[in-house]
């Protein structure tokens, strides 16, 4: 009976955690490049090898493609397929992101709203307009020059284990012991996706699926509460066996 109580309680805690994760996903539905978390369940096994309910404390980050929205900003970049942008934060650390809402600063660097700059890219002084090819090549139209100037190339990164990336407060991903070595390459080659200019990748959160998961989690929570109630009721009956 205590097992039923414990299993019910663990199920309720697991569903509560699911709601927390879905809420975090939904609140980031408009964050460019946001990667959704998927709640992970596992059955809990007690020391005697028997079941003890369910556990959900971990979640796995999904790196599936988000929707690409066209914009009118020349410096909005999106990756259509696999890969991450490599950026350098204000403190000089190397980080990775799928967000591509860049703006150009006075020195010609492309910066995200959190001030991290796209690595290895610097537009020449006097740049009027820029074209990014889908293979990452940058062509700049510079004042006083008739033909577009070759201004380098955007490179993408990936890892053997993307779910090992650590998400920090600044919304950027950092490599860790679990990711494996960084793999670099040009867009549209070696398994990397195409670079899209004047496009933003939205969060890979499916709102309809998320709402359905909320309903399912709520019902599952109720079902677990019922098994707690049933265990409680049976304990009450057992206590009433002796009626004076």
């Amino acid at each position: 009976m205590n097992r039923a109580l414990a299993a019910g309680a663990s199920g309720m805690a697991a569903q509560q955690n699911v709601l927390d994760i879905i809420a975090a996903n939904l609140s980031n539905v408009d964050t460019p490049g946001f990667r959704a978390d998927r709640p992970e369940f596992a059955s809990l096994i007690g020391p005697d090898g028997r079941g003890m309910g369910a556990l959900s404390q971990r979640s796995a980050r999904l790196f599936s493609q988000g929707k690409l929205d066209p914009t009118s900003n020349d410096f909005d970049l999106a990756i259509d397929g696999e890969g991450l942008f490599e950026v350098r934060t204000a403190s000089g650390a190397v980080a990775y992101t799928r967000a591509g809402n860049f703006t150009r600063d006075t020195a010609g660097a492309l910066r995200l709203p959190n001030n991290a700059a796209l690595a290895h890219v610097r537009l020449p002084a006097g740049t009027l307009a820029v074209t990014f090819d889908q293979d990452g090549r940058i062509h700049a139209r510079v004042a006083g020059k008739p033909a577009p100037v070759d201004a380098g190339r955007v490179r993408l990164c990936s890892f053997a284990n993307l779910s090992g990336l650590r998400l920090e407060d600044d919304g950027l991903f950092y490599a860790s012991r679990d990711t494996g070595p960084v793999l670099r390459g040009a867009p549209d080659s070696g398994g990397f996706g195409k670079l899209r200019q004047r496009c933003l990748e939205r969060a890979n959160v499916n709102v309809v699926n998320a709402m359905m998961s909320v309903l399912a989690a709520q019902r599952a929570y109720e079902a677990n509460a019922k098994s707690v109630q049933a265990a409680d009721e049976m304990l009450r009956l057992a206590n009433n066996l002796e009626r004076g």
């Binding site: 009976m1 097992r3 039923a4 109580l5 299993a7 019910g8 663990s10 199920g11 697991a14 569903q15 699911v18 709640p39 992970e40 369940f41 596992a42 059955s43 028997r50 079941g51 003890m52 309910g53 369910a54 971990r58 796995a60 999904l62 599936s64 990936s158 890892f159 053997a160 284990n161 779910s163 090992g164 012991r177 679990d178 990711t179 494996g180 793999l183 398994g191 399912a216 019902r219 599952a220 079902a223 677990n224 019922k226 098994s227 707690v228 049933a230 265990a231 009721e233 049976m234 009956l237 057992a238 009433n240 066996l241 002796e242 009626r243």
Partner: protein
């Protein structure tokens, strides 16, 4: 005297319903655990008393499309072989991922076993329904999918679906009905115990009072 027999029967019934509820609560808690097989408390009459045993039901869970290349669902009987701390362990939970060294791991971080030990999955690998893993058009390994026949492990004929997960085999509706049934059966046993107790009390306390 026959009465205490009724008492022990009622107690055995209450114990059996308790272990039934334990199994139901366990199943309801795992209604969202991929690859989970529901537990069934088998309650049967043994002579005049109830006995119960908990077995794992082998039902196929529904397949859910996830689009994650390393999510693997098994269709049909069988389990993935993984390297546990104390030898080979088996699971139907197909939420695999690739670790930093490129090895395929299950959700608990155990290495998934192929024909030559731990499977290393290159970036471009595809997994076929028969468990063979292809890279650049070449077979590089094969998932070890095992079934048990009378305690002996043998190659299972389950097929593998990459990009899918097998959902929990728990049916919440039948669990909830069993939950209500277990609760009521427990109540009935409790009533039987009380009635027996009443009868006993009358025999022990009231009958001698009439005589004197």
């Amino acid at each position: 005297m026959q009465l205490p027999n009724a008492l022990t029967s009622a107690a055995a019934g209450m114990r059996a319903q308790t272990s039934r509820l334990d199994a139901i609560a366990e199943n309801l808690a795992n209604a969202d655990t991929p690859g989970y097989r529901p537990r069934r408390a088998l309650v049967r009459g043994f002579g005049e008393q109830m006995q119960s045993a908990v077995v794992t039901a082998s039902v196929q869970g529904a397949l859910r499309h996830t689009g994650v290349a390393t999510d693997l669902a098994l269709v049909g009987p069988g389990s993935f072989a993984v390297a546990g701390a104390n030898g080979v362990e088996y699971t139907r939970d197909g939420r695999m991922s690739v670790d930093a060294s490129g090895a395929l791991c299950d959700v608990r971080g155990r290495h998934v076993l192929g024909s030559l030990g731990a499977i290393h999955l290159p970036h471009d690998a595809t997994i076929h329904s028969d468990g063979r893993i292809f890279s650049h058009g070449q077979v590089i390994d094969r998932l070890r999918i095992v079934d048990f026949d009378g305690g002996v492990a043998r190659r299972a004929h389950a097929s593998v679906r990459a990009g899918y997960l097998e959902e929990s085999g728990v049916d919440p509706i039948s669990e909830m009905t069993s939950l209500v049934a277990a609760e009521r059966a427990f109540e009935a046993d409790q009533k039987a115990a009380q009635q027996t107790d009443d009868a006993l009390k009358r025999a022990v306390v009231e009958l001698p009072a009439v005589r004197s």
